[in-house]
Point group: C2
Chain length 333, copies 2
């Protein structure tokens, strides 16, 4: 539905984490990521060719994708002049921001003038039901994190890729804008009306073959006070058979909450598992994924070994070392 | 903003619980509740005078309030003919249903024709922020339930009334349509966009005097898989200093979920308190409110004494016996 290839717009991202949408697309759809557009003050870098709008259009980019998220979502005037230039150059624009492209009169006008499309993947396009909690066929795996942005989506996609390679039945189920921009489908869970959150997750992960696994993209954290309600809807609506604990060990505090510390993996396990067992008494914690991007290879290996010994669960960085051991653990459920 | 007195519309409510909106208004605003309108098949009864629309208008009713909720919210054709008759008779119509009055062309036309207003208290009228988790001044109390519809709102209002009677500083903070129809203000939490749920609760319960208590209306249950995300947003956004555990002991299963059993009060305490302490490490469970409406006086007293002994916390039915002991417990925090 969204035309590729993409020009990834990094705007004035203050750091790499703010551009995690672009990073996800670049990592999982490198074929579709032709270049990046960075403004003054941008501290993110996808290590793609820097392109002007004219260069991107000439290179064949069909869609400018806003790959940078601001808390709350704001489309600044500085951004808009770039987006209008892209529309004038014949590109569509796609965004997962709360602040919708289609609510900005100047962007709508520029799109209409050029016969181009503004894709807001943030908007739910389905009237989701209220969750009924009924047991569904097939199996489901959910990654739950000690914090936001600790690698839950990466874990899910990496496991899906590994399972498909092994000939297993598996589907990554996107619940956020990056996931939706990568897969082309999903539920923009953080934009769903509160009463329908769990129902939207049930809708996303319906009855399936007994040996089929949904890899549900996690969101937020049960310990992140801004978004914990969204996480809870995934834990209950997703009815997981298996949980993966996800962690990023180098954070000084919870993402965006300087007064809050991350829980330990033990606290996460002891909180998430009983809550998951409300919806699925057979749910188990099967493994741990650690985002070691800020550690050296030696540091990462030592840390993973230590956690594995402490927790008694296969512990890997699926992006660095592959998701094989997590899939082995899932296969044993 | 919504003109009183009210005619309470009970529609074709299958049971009393389905008309809990009407029951709440009748119980807490008896002065504003002149009569009830019941259709064929209605099994709810507020023990108010049954009135036709003509009789209600003649008696001085200014607003017909839809006091019956359906799962998901639907305005049937049978309901509509009554609502149009009320508008034609000079009344406004107020509703907390998901399905909005203002989305129904025939109701909008009838309201315009008569110069009357359709109040949809379901719709948020504020752009709520994302929660920042910062410690706020003043104190907050939240009722958390073993299930939906177990008396959390009643507990909060009853405590506010008792505290005001004692000269304490207290404000009941409504988070659902009944509470909003009773108090005239609040956050329709189950209609808020997922990402802003906890922020809307922070907005509703801002900095206040050190000796002021917000009595926050609880919603759903951490153990109700359809709505647990909403409850979680209250637990973290509300930053409670005190939790009240709420329970209805005669349920055969969780409300609307025949496959699910209620947790015990011990399970509720052991789940809710650690989650609340993420946002407020000093949070305590201070008391238990039990909805004993389906028990005799003797049964109720025996049950309350048994729970009090088991849990070591003041245990009362605030509607039946007053909220005095819960307020005593709060005052000791």
């Amino acid at each position: 539905m969204i035309e590729t290839p993409y020009l990834l717009f990094l705007g004035d991202a203050p750091d790499g984490l703010a551009a995690k949408v672009a990073q996800g697309i670049k990592d999982w759809r490198p074929d579709a990521s032709l270049g990046q557009f960075r403004m003054e003050g941008c501290n993110a870098n996808m290590h793609l060719p820097d392109m002007t709008i004219t260069e991107a259009a000439a290179a064949g980019c069909k869609t400018l994708v806003i790959g940078v998220a601001n808390r709350g979502g704001v489309i600044s005037d500085a951004w808009k002049s770039v987006l209008v230039e892209a529309l004038d150059a014949g590109m569509d624009v796609a965004s997962g921001l709360h602040n919708l492209l289609n609510d900005e009169a100047d962007l709508v006008e520029a799109a209409e003038r050029n016969g181009k499309t503004l894709h807001d993947v943030r908007i739910p396009t389905v009237d989701y039901p209220i969750a009924n909690g009924k047991k569904r066929t097939g199996k489901r795996c959910l990654a739950v994190g000690t914090d936001c942005s600790v690698g839950k989506m990466y874990t899910g996609i990496a496991m899906e890729r590994e399972m498909l390679k092994r000939g297993m039945k598996a589907t990554f189920r996107a619940t956020g804008q990056t996931g939706i921009l990568i897969t082309g489908d999903g539920v923009p869970l953080d934009a769903v009306i509160a009463d329908f959150m769990a129902g939207s997750v049930e809708y996303l992960t319906p009855d399936n073959d007994a040996d089929h696994w949904d890899l549900i993209e996690g969101q937020g954290s049960l310990f992140h006070v801004s978004y914990s309600g969204v996480t809870m809807a995934l834990v209950h609506g997703g009815q997981p058979d298996a949980l993966i604990l996800s962690h990023e060990p180098t954070r000084a505090h919870m993402r965006g909450l300087p007064e809050y510390q991350q829980p330990t993996l033990q606290q996460l396990r002891d909180t998430a598992l009983p809550l998951a067992q409300v919806a699925n008494p057979d749910c188990k914690v099967v493994g741990i994924s650690v985002n070691t991007q800020h550690m050296s290879e030696d540091e990462a290996n030592a840390y993973l070994a230590k956690v594995e010994a402490e927790m008694g669960l296969p512990t890997v960085d699926p992006f660095r070392h592959g998701a094989g051991r997590l899939v082995d653990a899932l296969d044993a459920v």
